[in-house]
């Protein structure tokens, strides 16, 4: 096992595009680090630079403390799982899994034993004589995993390995990949555009946008304390509702269009820097799951016109409109929300509607004006100019 250190790494393509800008990241020994971000954010480029498949323009990549910038992929002791699996179509499953070992001139008996062990672990024992073309997507994905596992490398690199699977299989394989990684304890760098995958699998998650690291933290911390509007909007499904607001001079409330949202003392305790924004513009973020149908007028509330109600069985997604201006969120239109297709179709940030995730038993009708209660201490505040979260000090 080994650590992976990415130190001030930049990648500039010959056409001048700066895909990665001064990225610094450390993946601890045995950790599963997820790189997440919208398409084109540079996450795959980072992975390929670690693998040695892409030249590094500046900075250093270290694997196990050794600088590997000029080391060929085969000498880095890494194993990579690709989005399209990249199985050798002319070889059987067993040959695919054992190919890396064969190239290392291991005795045939040892190769066979390791292939069998990996196949048993992945439930592939009965398919060993088949060719990849005769397997389902899930089975091919397992073969790709087997090919990586069997070599016992220092580092696993996984490039969206589940994105070609259907939704149900993806959820199943997500758990399997996590389980195998934890069982083997191999340092893993995992790339995905799916924030749900990132949240459920990663020990830590690094969020990238346009080649720049936005935040790297454990999943819950990303959700609870996003560093900026992009992370806040990207993590969570449906995406966080973002409004342009104006703090009242006395700091007890914030104006969202014609409505006033009370700010509780808890919010000020958690965000002392908010006091400096009295009378200034801020961006207010409210997660859909922190909005419910109001049963009393205590606490902060918002009133909106219900535009659409989507029943998901266990809950309702209520799309409603306010007269407050929605804040611009960079990369919001490509937010990777995959588990909630309904929410994808009508994204609050792109439709101009807000979204509330309420209990399925809530009586709510389209075209009615409804009152929504907000969890008092769970509003997020961001600097209107920089988009940085307002927490302890000046952003």
């Amino acid at each position: 096992m080994a650590t992976v250190e990415i130190d001030e790494v930049t990648k500039v393509y010959p056409n001048g595009v700066e895909a990665v800008q001064g990225l610094t990241l450390q993946v601890r020994d045995g950790e599963l680090m997820v790189l997440v971000g919208p398409s084109g954010c540079g996450k795959t480029t980072v992975l390929r630079m670690v693998a040695g498949l892409e030249e590094i323009s500046s900075g250093e990549v270290l694997i196990g403390g050794r600088v590997v910038n000029d080391v060929s992929p085969k000498a880095r002791d890494i194993a990579m799982v690709f989005q399209n699996y990249a199985l050798y179509p002319h070889m059987t499953v067993a040959a695919n899994i054992g190919f890396g070992l064969k190239l290392r001139n291991l005795p045939k008996s040892e190769v066979e034993a390791k292939v069998l062990a990996a196949a048993r672990m992945l439930g592939l024992s009965q398919w060993l004589d088949r060719k990849p073309g005769q397997l389902s997507g899930g089975q091919r994905q397992r073969v790709a995993m087997g090919r990586a596992i069997v070599r016992e490398p220092k580092v696993f690199l996984m490039d969206e390995p589940l994105s070609n699977l259907d939704a149900k299989l993806r959820v199943q394989m997500r758990a399997e990949v996590s389980h195998i990684q934890r069982r083997l304890g191999v340092t893993t760098l995992y790339v995905t555009h799916d924030q749900t995958e990132a949240m459920t699998m990663g020990d830590r998650v690094a969020v990238l946008l346009e080649g720049v690291l936005q935040q790297c933290a454990p999943p819950q911390l990303l959700y609870d304390r996003p560093d900026n509007v992009f992370v806040a909007a990207f993590i969570g499904s449906p995406a966080m509702n973002m409004y342009e607001g104006l703090m009242d001079p006395d700091g007890t409330s914030v104006s969202l269009g014609s409505q006033r949202l009370q700010i509780s003392d808890d919010v000020f305790h958690a965000r002392p820097a908010l006091a400096m924004y009295r009378g200034k513009k801020v961006v207010v973020g409210i997660r859909p799951e922190h909005i419910s149908a109001a049963v009393s007028s205590d606490g902060p509330v918002l009133q909106g016109d219900v535009e659409l109600v989507e029943a998901l069985g266990s809950e309702l997604l209520v799309h409603f409109s306010l007269d407050a201006a929605l804040a611009h969120v960079p990369g919001a239109a490509v937010n990777g929300q995959t588990e909630q297709p309904a929410a994808d179709d009508v994204d609050a940030t792109t439709s101009g509607w807000s979204v509330a995730r309420v209990d399925a038993s809530t009586k709510i009708r389209v075209h009615e004006r409804a009152t929504f209660a907000l969890r008092p201490s769970l509003q997020h505040f961001f600097d209107a100019d920089t988009g940085a979260a307002i927490w302890d000090g000046p952003p």
Binding site: A51, G52, L53, S72, P73, K74, I78, A79, M80, F82, Q83, N84, A86, L87, Y88, P89, H90, F99, G100, L103, R104, R147, R151
Partner: protein, 304 residues
Amino acid sequence: MGDGTMTPGSSGLAAVSPAGSAIRRQARRRPTLARRIRRDPGAIGMFLALLVISIVMLYPFAFMIINSLRTESQYLNGSGFSTSSWGALFSSLPVGAELLNSTLICAGAIAIILIGSSAAGFAFAKLRYRRQNVVFLGIIGSMMIPVQSIIIPEYVNLANAGLVNNYLSPILVYSALGMPFATFLMTVFFRGLPDELIEAALCDGMGYFGVFWRVAVRMAGPALATVTVLQFIQIWDDLLVALLLLQEPANRTITVGLGVLSSGRAVSIPALMAGSLISAIPAIIVYLFFQRYLVSGLTMGVSR
């Protein structure tokens, strides 16, 4: 919903009843010509066109086979059959030796073309280097140079190298002539291979030569078969290069032998037809052997 309620015995399995499978069998059966024409009257024009093309294509074969089984007088009369022309052919031409010469030259040239074009195609498709496109365009452009315009300088070069009347000379010339198209074909094929496959092999522990030899070439069956068939037909049928470079009777190819046979003062058409038939058989065998790869090889790059 009430409409969707299933009663016992009325499950979806009912679709697998004997009547159902009979319907499916009928649907699977290829429609007859009459049914196709009834369904699409315009198809009759297509069938007629294909029929005419088939006759045009097959007529020379029929002519060759029929007339190879006639004597000179039977050929002139247009009736009767005899195998004497085959005896005349074998007595006037060293057919076996010429077939062997043709085979050796074809095999040598095709081996060089396959090795060179697959390596070049892989490099053009999967490696990146400066002026790559210019070099590729140069090679593709050389396909447009007619062999007649360079054959004399080539002859002079080979004569200076002392290679005239040596099998190596036509092998080298055919390789040079066939290489550009073969390289183009192999490049198109290798461009269709996913880059991830190459990268997976690099991560697995191979160098670029290993990736080429152990992964790319193993998957290039259709492309290699296509190159083999097309080059075989071209080289086997060629007269000019072999006629010029192999002047000793012992070195002649079958095509040159037939050329000599047809240039005599008294030409025996039945013997010539018998020789042509023998000459055509290897090409037909090669085509049939690689047929299943040929279509996929020829349509490479059409879709990915």
